[in-house]
């Protein structure tokens, strides 16, 4: 019957891949900009630091995405690397450490940003 085999909703692999993919975009496009800004421009005095902006909600949302998303990129890549090099039988603890670590990082990031 047509339409019988729709995406398996129980599989959450599309979610992890979606986060991995979004994290990859953030890591590739935004991280280099921040390396230049925070690693070169501010220390060398090209621009001045502006600590006040961290109180603004827009900056907080931006920083949340900037920090949390690449954690999922790392988690997914690291999980697959470890299982591909032969640690397949430890899949469960590895996924707990990688994806769990990323979720923990997300919570800590949100907590720190809310306290700023």
């Amino acid at each position: 019957m047509m339409g019988e085999a729709l995406p398996n909703k129980k599989s959450i692999e599309p979610l992890w891949w979606g986060l991995f993919s979004a994290g990859g975009v953030v890591a590739a496009f935004l991280v280099p900009i921040h390396i230049v800004l925070l690693g070169l421009a501010v220390p060398l005095g090209w621009i001045s630091d502006a600590p006040d902006i961290f109180g603004h909600w827009f900056v907080k949302v931006y920083l949340f995405v900037f920090i949390a998303m690449p954690l999922y990129h790392w988690a997914h890549r690291f999980y697959f690397t470890l299982s591909d090099i032969g640690l397949k039988s430890f899949r469960k603890p590895i996924s707990f450490l990688t994806y769990g670590g990323a979720m923990m990082g997300t919570v800590i990031t949100a907590w720190i940003l809310l306290r700023l």
Binding site: M2, G3, E4, A5, L6, P7, N8, K9, S11, E13, P14, L15, W17, G18, S21, R77, F80, T81, D84, G86, K88
Partner: protein, 249 residues
């Protein structure tokens, strides 16, 4: 001046007499205009008729002469001896597959995988012939044309490190063909392919190493097809979670 020669180190496996593959060295006349397949046919015809290998068209169309040449997955009809001479050429059966004899691999696992992605046009209802062809615009044809050139030569499976460790992985060629038919405006069967594509052994096992696209002799780019399938499947998933009551076409 003596006639120039070239040495081929060829993998042999002759069960039940041999329990493990061995190798045999053949030194034959060197001709710069010969491809590796010509050299194998020279061996078969003039030196050792017991050597077994698959081949048919000699022109990169049939996809049956794929082998590992110096460790790289190649169509033997498309690699010239002159690219290796005077070095020795190592000829082995395609990696990641069971070997039946010498250079002949068992491809039945791939044929099963090919079948489950349903690489053919599926229609809910067929139009009667009297109504004419299913017309496509050039844009609609471009959407799948590049992915339709697959000749099932299996070089992509031999080059894929994921398939090497996870034999259940549906693999590059079969997934690319699934994508090719999903993209075809005449096809209405993408819902029937989703379970296979969205499975752990489907697109999600691919980690985008990209070697499949490097070795593909027809420039099919299976790696791109699989990444696009991931995007499509992720979109479906988000839609099915956010709008569980909606149409998920």
């Amino acid at each position: 001046m003596p006639e120039p020669t070239i040495t081929l180190n060829v993998s042999r496996y002759r069960p039940p007499d041999e329990r493990v593959p061995t190798s045999q060295v053949y030194t034959i006349p060197y001709r710069p205009d010969w491809v590796v397949l010509d050299a194998l046919n020279y061996i078969k015809d003039q030196v050792d008729g017991s050597l077994s290998f698959r081949w048919s068209c000699r022109m990169g169309v049939c996809g049956s002469c794929g082998m590992m040449i110096n460790g790289e997955a190649k169509l033997t009809c498309s690699v010239f001896l002159r690219d290796y001479h005077p070095r020795e050429i190592l000829v082995e059966p395609l990696e990641n597959f069971p070997v039946i004899k010498d250079l002949v691999i068992d491809m039945s696992d791939f044929l099963d995988k090919l079948k489950i992605v349903k690489p053919w046009i599926i229609r809910e209802t067929e139009k009667p012939t009297s109504e004419g062809e299913y017309l496509q615009t050039p844009e609609e044809m471009d959407a799948y044309m590049g992915f339709s050139a697959c000749i099932n030569c299996l070089l992509c499976y031999a080059a894929c490190p994921i398939f090497g460790v996870e034999t259940d992985f549906i693999g590059p060629a079969a997934l690319a063909l699934g994508y090719r038919y999903n993209q075809d405006s005449r096809d209405e069967g993408s819902n029937m392919r989703w379970n296979v594509i969205n499975d752990h052994h489907g697109t999600w096992q691919c980690t985008f190493v990209g070697e499949c696209s490097v070795v593909c002799p027809k420039d099919v780019d299976p790696a791109a097809a699989i990444q696009r399938l991931k995007v499509d499947t992720a979109k479906h998933w988000i839609r099915s979670v956010l709008l569980p009551w909606g149409k998920r076409a």
